[in-house]
């Protein structure tokens, strides 16, 4: 397998709704910015991987077909990846494999979503229809007819975790303090959807209930319209591009993925409801591939669909003990970016978690959210000279899809 590096990345502004652009233009904007970042033209790109979660959002089956020519990928191979919330991660994994295998020297991985054109005729608002569109990810026989939604699916998991580990994710103040830190991160991200908001722990704890007792309105990710692109290249090509662009290479040092069974149950290969085993297995594979351990990593961009799930995921990724994930706050492991200069690495033993603001403050355009995370992780590693970072993605019913990618700043740039 060949070494693979990230040589460019670009994202659009994250918005609740883009009136000024369809997903055609959003994907083009992200591609254009990634090319500008790497100082290359599309002629140098061998192939493309698209991350698009849901045809219903895009209002077109085979949505990638109309993009091909518009983003300069005519007459090149193109693969669309769709894996629920983990679509972005799996698209990047596909792109990395394509370079690592020697099939391509430079691959564009671009993902995004146009989600909030959906509209519910009865409530006269978008949200119930957006939720319904996501709920179509559940099967039509057993789950969808019961009224499954993404929120209650993830909360089933969180409540099952709380059954096993009471007093951890169940403390509303701990969750609210995490939201406060994420808000400060979002304030520093010029593309974040909620970059101008100020949210205090107090506001979190009095915001409207979505699902009691684990989910208030200010603990939930957003629906975002936007797109993100990442350029992956072989070692030789990456060095050549890096020389030209002046941008340090960020290497993909290890990547791991795992999907659990759709059905929860007891024993065998059934999904354990009180754990996110997909996150655990994916990260163990990524650590093994990279030859590093959680304590080597100082920046994490993880898929925070909900704050309680962020805490469980941090446990599964090995950064804090499962059952005592509240140490993120209790022991001050999750550093507030306000306490750091923009070029300062987190102090030893501390972690920058979702410096982009995550999916809660930054943005969640499903098919490209993990590219958004990668864009941010690379940006922070480069600015702060942090040698190792991690990007995580999760998705599907009960968070059964999981992936983790360990990134390493090129040592010449790290010095």
């Amino acid at each position: 397998m060949r070494k693979v590096g990230i040589v460019g990345a670009g994202i659009t502004d994250c918005r609740g709704r883009w009136i000024e652009a369809t997903y055609w233009d959003l994907f083009q904007q992200a591609t254009r910015r990634a090319c500008e970042d790497a100082k290359i033209t599309t002629a140098e790109i061998d192939s493309v991987v698209y991350g698009i979660y849901n045809d219903i959002f895009e209002h077109q089956a085979i949505p990638e077909s109309s993009l091909t020519g518009l983003i300069g990928m005519a007459n090149k191979p193109g693969t669309r990846v769709t894996s629920g919330g983990a679509t972005g991660f799996y698209a990047m994994r596909t792109a990395v494999m394509e370079v690592a295998s020697g099939t391509s020297d430079c691959v564009l991985c671009v993902g995004g979503e146009k989600a909030t054109d959906c509209f519910d005729p009865r409530s006269k608002t978008a949200t119930p229809m957006v939720i319904d569109t996501i709920a179509k990810s559940w099967d039509p026989f057993f789950e969808y007819p019961l009224g499954a939604t993404a929120s209650d699916s993830y909360m089933q998991l969180c409540m099952a975790y709380n059954d096993e580990h009471p007093g951890d994710i169940g403390d509303p103040l701990v969750r609210a303090k995490i939201v406060e830190i994420l808000c400060h991160s979002g304030n520093r991200n010029p593309y974040a959807q909620r970059r101008d908001e100020t949210v205090t722990a107090e506001q979190v704890m009095t915001s409207r209930w979505i699902i009691a007792p684990f989910l208030r309105l200010l603990e939930v990710c957003m629906y975002t319209e936007g797109a993100g692109a990442v350029l992956f290249a072989s070692e030789k090509k990456a060095r050549e591009i890096s020389e030209r662009s002046g941008q340090p290479i960020v290497w993909v040092r290890g990547i791991g993925a795992a999907n659990e069974s759709y059905s929860p149950g007891r024993g065998g290969n059934y999904k354990r409801l009180h754990r996110i085993d997909s996150d655990r297995i994916a990260s163990e594979r990524a650590y093994a591939a990279a030859g590093v351990k959680p304590s080597d990593i100082r920046i994490v961009e993880l898929h925070d669909a909900f704050v309680a799930q962020l805490m469980i995921t941090m446990g599964e990724l090995g950064f804090v003990p499962v059952g005592r994930t509240r140490t993120l706050i209790d022991e001050g492991l999750m550093v507030d970016p306000k306490s750091l200069r923009d070029d300062q690495p987190p102090p030893s033993g501390k972690l920058l978690v979702n410096p982009s603001g995550g999916l809660i403050f930054g943005g969640h355009f499903v098919g490209g959210s993990n590219m958004f995370s990668t864009w941010s992780c690379r940006r922070e590693m480069t600015k702060r000279k942090v040698p190792l970072g991690m990007v995580h993605g999760t998705g599907a019913i009960n968070a059964v899809f999981g992936g983790a990618m360990i990134l390493e700043l090129d040592e010449r740039s790290a010095r």
Binding site: P121, I131, F142, Q156, W209, L273
Partner: protein, 335 residues
């Protein structure tokens, strides 16, 4: 999802008039949007799942059991064991009782197709408890004690399987009720039908009158009377209440009162009314003071501090929840 046989698969009001409209972007320029849809109709085949749903129609619950490892899948999602090199799985009759595998969430803000059904609870039930390995059944969870709320469906409780009287072959043909709510003579009945249980008139929970809470009730009454008088001067609040008429009898630990909505006005009265549309119960009267101070009755119902008999009662809350904000905005603008 309340569609039954013969009703349109897509409700008739689930539609938009054709429209092309100008809309302003953030950049100040004018853009266009149009209304459209992406609807597909299906004659959805059940295939290998047919046996499971045919069994439900017949008042039975079945799973598939592996002839090699003895694991049980419920629902019978496959007839070839994925863990045993696709060994044959055979039909097994399952008991009409199970254990709730985890504490279950209550959904309050449903997707577009389920608006009107909320709040509702769903969770995973361990049915094949004798099997060494088993999947859980995704299930509707219902209570005969009023609206579904936190604290009822907690991990490990025993549940009784209940069948709808009229069954079509849908996962909604069945639901589960806490065994403690099932009258003992019915606990072993198979199938137990929904009509054999009383969901229509749940008994309100007892509240112990506590003199210490009387002062809280007085404060709540004063706050609500102020709100009612503000409604008299607020166009927005009157619009919130337009075309609504209902009487709520409210029992609290500090004493009872009535909340009357008619003619776009709100009236607060001492004591329980002779006739009411719904009886609500809150041990702590402060629930109502918090509501007036920009809190929310919906939130109180969601977290379980306000008891409601049914979904119809839940649906009157959003209009009441809008009143504090509407009156504040109108009165501020009037200043």
């Amino acid at each position: 999802m309340t569609t039954r046989r013969g009703q349109p698969a897509l409700p008739l009001d689930f539609n938009l008039p054709r429209d092309w409209r100008e809309i302003q972007g953030r950049d100040g320029r004018t853009y266009l949007q149009f209304t459209t849809h992406m609807v597909t109709f299906y004659e959805q085949t059940y295939g290998e799942h047919s046996r499971f749903f045919m069994a439900l129609r017949g008042g039975r619950l079945i799973g598939s059991k592996c002839t090699t490892c003895a694991q049980v899948m419920v629902p019978a999602a496959t007839w070839h064991c994925p863990n045993c090199n696709f060994a044959e799985m055979r039909e097994v009759e399952l008991p009409h009782r199970g254990i709730l595998a985890h504490t279950a969430p209550v959904t309050v803000f449903p997707s577009a197709s389920f608006i009107g059904d909320a709040p509702f609870a769903r969770g995973y039930v361990d049915v094949a408890t004798d099997a060494p390995i088993a999947s859980y059944l995704p299930s509707r969870l219902r209570t005969t004690t009023g609206l579904e709320r936190p604290g009822i469906f907690v991990k490990g409780i025993e549940l009784k399987l209940v069948f709808e009287d009229e069954r079509v072959g849908s996962i909604r043909d069945i639901f589960w009720v806490p065994m403690t709510e099932i009258p003992p003579p019915l606990r072993n009945k198979q199938p137990l039908l929904a009509s054999e249980l009383n969901f229509a008139s749940p008994v309100p929970p007892e509240v112990k009158k506590d003199p210490a809470k009387a002062a809280a009730k007085d404060r709540a009454m004063a706050a609500m009377r102020k709100l009612a008088s503000d409604v008299e001067r607020s166009r927005r609040a009157q619009a919130d209440l337009a075309n609504r008429a209902f009487v709520l009898g409210i029992k609290t630990g500090g004493g009872d009162f009535a909340l009357d909505v008619a003619n776009s006005r709100l009236l607060i009265r001492e004591g329980l009314p002779d006739k009411s549309d719904f009886i609500l119960v809150a041990d702590d009267p402060d629930v109502f003071r918090a509501w007036v101070n920009d809190g929310s009755l919906t939130d109180a119902a969601v977290e379980g501090s306000l008891w409601l008999p049914n979904k119809e009662a839940f649906q009157v809350l959003p209009a009441l929840d809008r009143l504090p904000r509407s009156t504040r905005r109108d009165l501020r603008e009037a200043k």
